[in-house]
């Protein structure tokens, strides 16, 4: 097997820079001076920055837009002038109005806020230097991870601090709901896009031309979130491709020499939205973004949120990535200003690129000791002795490090200190009583129904899970192999073709929940084998993969790590087989699964709270849809789910280890 060579290819990327705390200087010098200091960033090839109005004019006069305007006009019978006017309105609604004064205001206000909220804001300065270089040479696209509202303000704040060109940021329209704040964000470089505009040709044309114009001319780095929305679970979300397609296309069309994609990993020690997210996942709708809501959130200011680590990754050259994968000359026979669906070759390239970038984001996420502790606590919901927790955390630390996790473990601090300070920071989630550590369950006032109690417990489990989720990408591949081995052990088959089948089934099943690059299945399997062998958990004599004596703790930890996902998916399968009614609509699906799970938990038949998460429910459904076990049918305005009970049932059996994978795959056919 070529596993070693394959994995070592990834190794160089894992060489990481050190961090600098940018708040340190803020604590020692005047914020006002800082906000008013001279700001003169270098730009792409020394272009002069473009005024927002000029930018709009370029877009409105572009051939690209004119073509679509005429097309829409012919289709709708409206005069081109009217469509042009519409385009202008769309652009007005969309465009940023970056103003340095607003940026200075934010620089001041955020300095104050950050100092209260966070202990440190750490940035890898080498990454900043690389970025500065990249900005001068090529159009740059910043691709930060998205875990909090803070993300994009934080990004601009950092770039301002380092005297780098301020990005223009694609933001969801929902921000515009906050009247004043929306405009402030606009003036600090945000531009707003509607959440869905599927069929609206004109909107798409204005939007894509706006982004491309900024990119082609290199007026400013473009920033957007590949994940499309904030991850409520702290797992990276599978990437959305729309914007990435737009920013890559100018390269394929030869309009720019190259585009540099810069993955940025923003890791929060404690996320501001922590319990908000858990509630949202449990079906309490997220509060609509409103200014007054934001003000109420001031309460947040009184708490300690630990540190933030922002890691600017190595710029990724689209040109180098596309080398040998996309034949640019296929763009030669079609006018460049006419919008065209990307070719298959391009689509799969963009998809692949998106996944790789998200994986780079994951790789450079900084993990805190608490993340390891949360992983252990979730496998011991009844609580752990503090000493046991400490001991296991140390063990897990070793394991994580040997799997190249980017762990921020305090130097020279005794382990007990590290554990206790982590517990202190997260006292809202875990508490120590009588030498035992267990999850905190918020006690509401007044009498509690069993449902309410369950709900409260679920909030703390999901909050805690959001920390465990941060480490999943490190362990995911070997953990899936561990599960496969576990399943195989029950069916007495351990040679690797069988394991590979099982592994690939899980890989496929979970590819909405985790970042698994399409087509990387073999590589992932080899990586999993390599890692398990490397850490001595398994041996691979010839065709077999055999657990070693010392491998037991590792493998059982891995099994425990993925257990909630296996169980959760099984609950979904069981619901669809046993309870789902004939005309189940897509809308009904989530509440229905939730109440099914609640019933099971209350009846004592299920101990897994994570299945209550709408995220997991959605991902499970997506997987079943992908595997053709469920189909969507549109009837009138409703989307109905048609369940192939046989198929769902056999998937359930495989997940439960009752059926070998090969048969199940056949059954699907």
């Amino acid at each position: 097997m070529a596993s070693k060579t394959l994995y070592s290819q990834r190794d160089p990327m894992l060489k990481r820079d050190g961090f600098e705390d940018i708040l340190e200087e803020r604590r020692n010098s005047s914020d006002l001076k800082y906000a008013l200091r001279c700001y003169a960033p270098v730009l792409y090839k020394g272009v002069t920055p473009c005024k927002a109005n000029m930018l709009k004019n370029i877009v409105l006069q572009s051939d690209q837009l004119h073509y679509v305007i005429n097309q829409v006009s012919q289709e709708s019978g409206e005069a081109p002038d009217i469509i042009q006017e519409e385009a202008s309105v769309i652009l007005e609604e969309m465009a940023h109005r970056l103003q340095i004064s607003t940026v200075r205001f934010f620089a001041f206000a955020l300095s104050k806020a950050f100092k209260t909220l966070f202990q440190h804001v750490c940035v890898n300065e080498e990454g900043i230097q690389r970025l500065q270089q990249a900005i001068q040479e090529h159009p740059v696209v910043l691709l930060p991870s998205h875990r909090s509202y803070m993300d994009f303000l934080l990004m601009s704040y950092i770039l301002y601090t380092y005297d780098l060109a301020l990005p223009v940021i694609a933001a969801g329209m929902d921000f515009m709901g906050m009247k004043f704040v929306g405009e402030m964000l606009r003036m600090s470089g945000a531009f707003f896009i509607r959440r869905s505009f599927g069929g609206d040709k004109l909107y798409w044309a204005v939007f894509s031309e706006y982004v491309k114009t900024m990119l082609r001319n290199g007026f400013a780095p473009i920033e957007f979130f590949l994940e499309g929305t904030r991850s409520r679970t702290c797992k990276s979300l599978t990437p959305k491709l729309g914007l990435l397609n737009i920013v890559i296309e100018p390269f394929f069309k030869g309009e720019v020499f190259d585009v540099n994609l810069v993955p940025v990993s923003i890791s929060y020690e404690r996320i501001l939205e922590e319990s908000l997210y858990a509630r949202e996942l449990l079906g309490v709708p997220k509060p609509k973004e409103s200014t007054s809501g934001l003000l109420k959130a001031r309460r947040i200011l009184s708490e300690d949120y630990g540190s933030i680590h922002v890691y600017f990754g190595q710029p990724v050259s689209v040109r180098s990535l596309a080398q040998g994968k996309v034949n640019r000359s296929t763009y030669n026979l079609f006018p460049r200003h006419i919008p065209r669906k990307p070719m298959e070759e391009t689509q799969s390239f963009v998809n692949d690129t998106a996944y790789r970038i998200v994986r780079l984001q994951e790789d450079n996420m900084v993990l805190k000791p608490w993340v390891l502790m949360a992983s252990l606590l979730l496998q011991n919901l009844e609580g752990l002795e503090l000493s046991v927790l400490t001991e296991q955390t140390v063990w897990l630390r070793g394991l994580a490090l040997s799997y190249a996790a980017f762990l921020d473990w305090p130097d020279h601090a005794p382990t007990a200190k590290v554990v206790s300070s982590s517990l202190a920071l997260h006292r809202g989630l875990a508490c120590v009583s009588g030498g035992r550590v267990s999850l905190v369950v918020g006690e509401p006032l007044g009498p509690v129904t069993p449902e309410e109690a369950l709900f409260n417990r679920a909030v703390s489990v999901l909050s805690c899970a959001s920390y465990r989720n941060q480490v999943l990408h490190v362990f995911l591949r070997p953990a899936m192999l561990a599960v496969a081995m576990h399943t195989a052990a029950s069916s007495k088959k351990s040679e690797w073709p069988g394991l590979y089948n099982c592994f690939s089934f899980l890989w496929d099943m979970f590819s909405n929940d985790f970042i698994l690059c399409p087509g990387d299945i073999v590589q992932d399997f080899e990586e999993a084998c390599y890692l398990l062998v490397k850490t001595g958990a398994v041996q691979m004599p010839q065709q077999d993969i055999v657990m070693t004596d010392i491998g037991q703790p590792t493998l059982s930890f891995f099994n425990g790590l993925l257990e909630p996902f296996l169980q959760g998916y099984q609950v979904v399968c069981r619901y669809l087989c046993e309870e789902a009614s004939e005309g189940l609509t897509e809308k009904q699906y989530i509440p229905a699964v939730r109440s099914f799970a609640v019933k099971l938990i209350l009846a004592g038949n299920l101990r897994c709270y994570e299945v209550l998460s709408s995220d997991m429910q959605k991902n499970a459904l997506a997987a079943l849809l992908r595997m053709d076990a469920v189909r969507k049918v549109k009837v009138a305005d409703q989307v109905t789910l048609i369940v192939n009970k046989m198929a769902v049932n056999s998937i359930d059996d495989i997940l439960g280890g009752k059926l070998p994978t090969q048969k199940a795959l056949l059954a699907r056919l």
């Binding site: 030869g254 309009e255 020499f257 034949n327 640019r328 000359s329 763009y331 030669n332 006018p335 460049r336 200003h337």
Partner: protein, 613 residues
């Protein structure tokens, strides 16, 4: 004793004298050689560089550049700013010389593999031939960088023609081709030898006897038809001779490729050449009325001289661009025009390349392009300026200063951004002036300022001396080459920029120690696009194998061109240098069509130079 004293403009004065002594010589010479007599050009040209032996650039002892000889406008002049430009641009130094081997060493030429039967039969025809090493080597190459570099270094050639034949007319060619087929001998037609596509390189794997078929003796104008304005010309004639001879009768073809001093009519047809003044006269395919060519299958020609026909696919287009793979072009009937009454150069300065391209695009749109219109980028503008001869009068000096002040200070042009378009107008006096105004008016709308005739003329000068300048560069560790493409208008800017950037990046990656020179100009305009011409040069000090590095970079540059919507070639051709991209360029079916034509016309691969396919 027969060495001709040649006139300034070249060879053909002496051709008739030579021909008279032809028969006599054949009787007296028993050796297999007779050769140089039939190729006087070879005598006055460099064997390891470009052009005439008497014309070359050098840095004299005073540290000033000069151009020797008497043939060109620059000849005999000193160029005070060239050395500075040269040293600054390339990081080169006149102290670091890399001189060429002076004397041709016959040992670099492998011994000939002769086909005795063929030689016997050929002798019987009385067609002159030679197997002298010098003659064979002279016809074993074109002017690609690697070819000239090898000659200068005195490197051994793996494969060269085994003999050279000089047919005197169409019938001689018919005989030679018949004999070649009979004895399975490989023929490589040779015209002016100015190929830059490795087209003349002998395939190293060729085991048969390779015969270079030199058309230089077929250089007559056979007749001239003033009623229909066509001339019937033998294909071996060299561009400048054709033009001069026609001028004597008051006509011209107007076909002026940059290589016209040395390239031949047959070569133009075989490579689909393009002339600088194509806007008035057309490219070679527009100029040709009739082609006669000898193939192994027989002679191909048409039955009439109708100006246009609808008789299936135009068979001329099998020959045009065939690059010597199907046969030898022997006679061509081509359009002629009365010599224009008036000619005027001109130039326009633009604030930047973008503005210049926009102007050329508009000129093309309005279809009012002058005979020639070219746009040089900023680098080439400075290059051109480095070739300014010593200014003799203080007054001219003052005027120059004033012009510069006007453009850069009053008009605010950035000297590191501005570009210049060079123009050539032709026609009757009135019309030229009118046309000139029209073009300058368009230019003005793009911020262009008229910059005088002199600048224009100097621009065209650069194209004629550029190859001489390459030799100078090679004397000082600088390698250089040019390449070209054609591209739709909307991609012109992007292509230029991306190709330059690609070159710079590739040079860096391949360990070139000094910033390369990358420069381009738009040399031809068409309704739907333009021809772009690139210069690329770098100082190779510190590189183990500069030619290989050069080739890798050029290869990358060509890939970049293709990825940016440029063609494989606008007029240089494919040769062997760009064969690998043919399939992608014309599709598998296209390649198949060409192959099947080759298969029918030349099943024995007699014309075995292996160009194109």
């Amino acid at each position: 004793p027969l060495r001709p004293g040649l006139g300034v403009t070249g060879a053909s004065h002496t051709v008739n004298t030579l021909r008279k002594s032809h028969d006599l010589l054949l009787l007296t010479l028993t050796k297999l050689t007779n050769c140089f007599l039939f190729s006087p050009r070879q005598e006055i040209m460099k064997w390891n560089g470009w052009g005439y032996s008497d014309s070359k650039f050098l840095f004299n002892k005073k540290g000033q550049a000069e151009f020797t000889g008497k043939r060109y406008r620059l000849s005999g002049m000193t160029l005070p700013s060239l050395q500075d430009w040269f040293e600054n641009t390339f990081g080169a130094s006149v102290k670091h010389k890399s001189p060429a081997t002076v004397i041709l060493n016959a040992s670099v030429v492998p011994p000939p593999r002769l086909n005795e039967a063929f030689v016997e039969n050929l002798k019987a025809t009385g067609i002159p031939f030679s197997n002298e090493a010098e003659d064979r080597l002279f016809r074993a190459h074109g002017h690609c960088l690697h070819e000239i570099f090898a000659l200068r270094e005195g490197k051994k050639f793996e494969r060269v023609p085994d003999m050279v034949v000089w047919p005197n007319c169409h019938n001689d060619v018919v005989k030679i081709v018949e004999l070649a087929c009979k004895h399975n001998v490989c023929l490589i037609p040779y015209g002016g030898g100015t190929s830059v596509t490795s087209a003349l390189e002998c395939p190293p794997e060729e085991t048969r006897c390779i015969v270079s078929l030199d058309t230089s003796q077929m250089n007559r104008i056979l007749w001239l038809d003033e009623n229909n304005l066509v001339a019937h010309v033998e294909a071996g004639i060299i561009g400048q001779d054709l033009e001069r001879l026609l001028n004597e009768s008051g006509y011209c073809t107007g076909h002026e490729p940059d290589s016209m001093e040395f390239s031949s009519l047959g070569g133009w047809v075989a490579t689909r050449a393009s002339g600088m003044k194509k806007n008035v006269y057309g490219n070679i395919e527009d100029l040709v009325i009739h082609i006669k060519a000898v193939t192994p299958r027989g002679v191909i020609e048409k039955s009439c001289q109708g100006p246009r026909t609808s008789t299936g696919p135009d068979i001329h287009h099998f020959i045009l661009g065939s690059e010597g793979t199907l046969g030898v072009v022997t006679e061509v009937t081509m359009k002629i025009r009365p010599i224009p009454e008036y000619q005027k150069y001109g130039s326009v300065v633009f604030p930047n390349f973008e503005a210049g391209v926009a102007c050329l695009r508009e000129v093309a749109k309005q279809r009012c392009a002058p005979a020639s219109i070219r746009l040089m980028d900023n680098t080439q503008f400075h290059f051109g300026h480095a070739l300014k001869p010593q200014v003799s009068s203080i007054f001219t000096h003052f005027l120059e200063g004033l012009k510069k002040f006007y453009i850069t200070k009053l008009k605010g042009f950035d000297p590191h951004q501005l570009v210049v378009a060079t123009l050539l107008f032709e026609g009757d006096h009135e019309r030229v002036l009118q046309h000139e105004k029209e073009v300058y008016d368009i230019a003005a709308t793009f911020g262009g300022l008229a910059a005088g005739e002199d600048n224009g003329q100097r621009g065209y000068l650069l194209t004629f001396v550029i190859a001489y300048l390459r030799d100078l560069g090679m004397d000082y560790c600088v390698v250089a080459e040019s390449f070209e493409t054609s591209v739709p208008w909307d991609r012109v800017l992007d292509l230029c920029q991306n190709v330059k950037e690609r070159i710079i990046r590739e040079c860096k990656e391949r360990g070139v120690q000094f910033q390369p020179l990358t420069s381009c100009r738009v040399t031809q305009t068409y309704d739907s696009g333009a021809c772009i011409y690139f210069y690329f040069a770098f100082n190779y000090r510190g590189l183990a194998d500069p030619v290989h590095t050069y080739e890798q970079v050029e290869h990358a540059a060509r890939e970049e061109i293709l990825a940016n919507g440029g063609s494989l070639s606008h007029h240089h051709g494919v040769g062997k240098l760009r064969k690998e991209w043919m399939k992608d360029s014309i599709s598998n079916v296209g390649v198949g069509m060409l192959k099947s034509v080759k298969e029918y016309v030349d099943p024995g691969n007699i014309f075995g130079n292996r160009n194109l396919l």
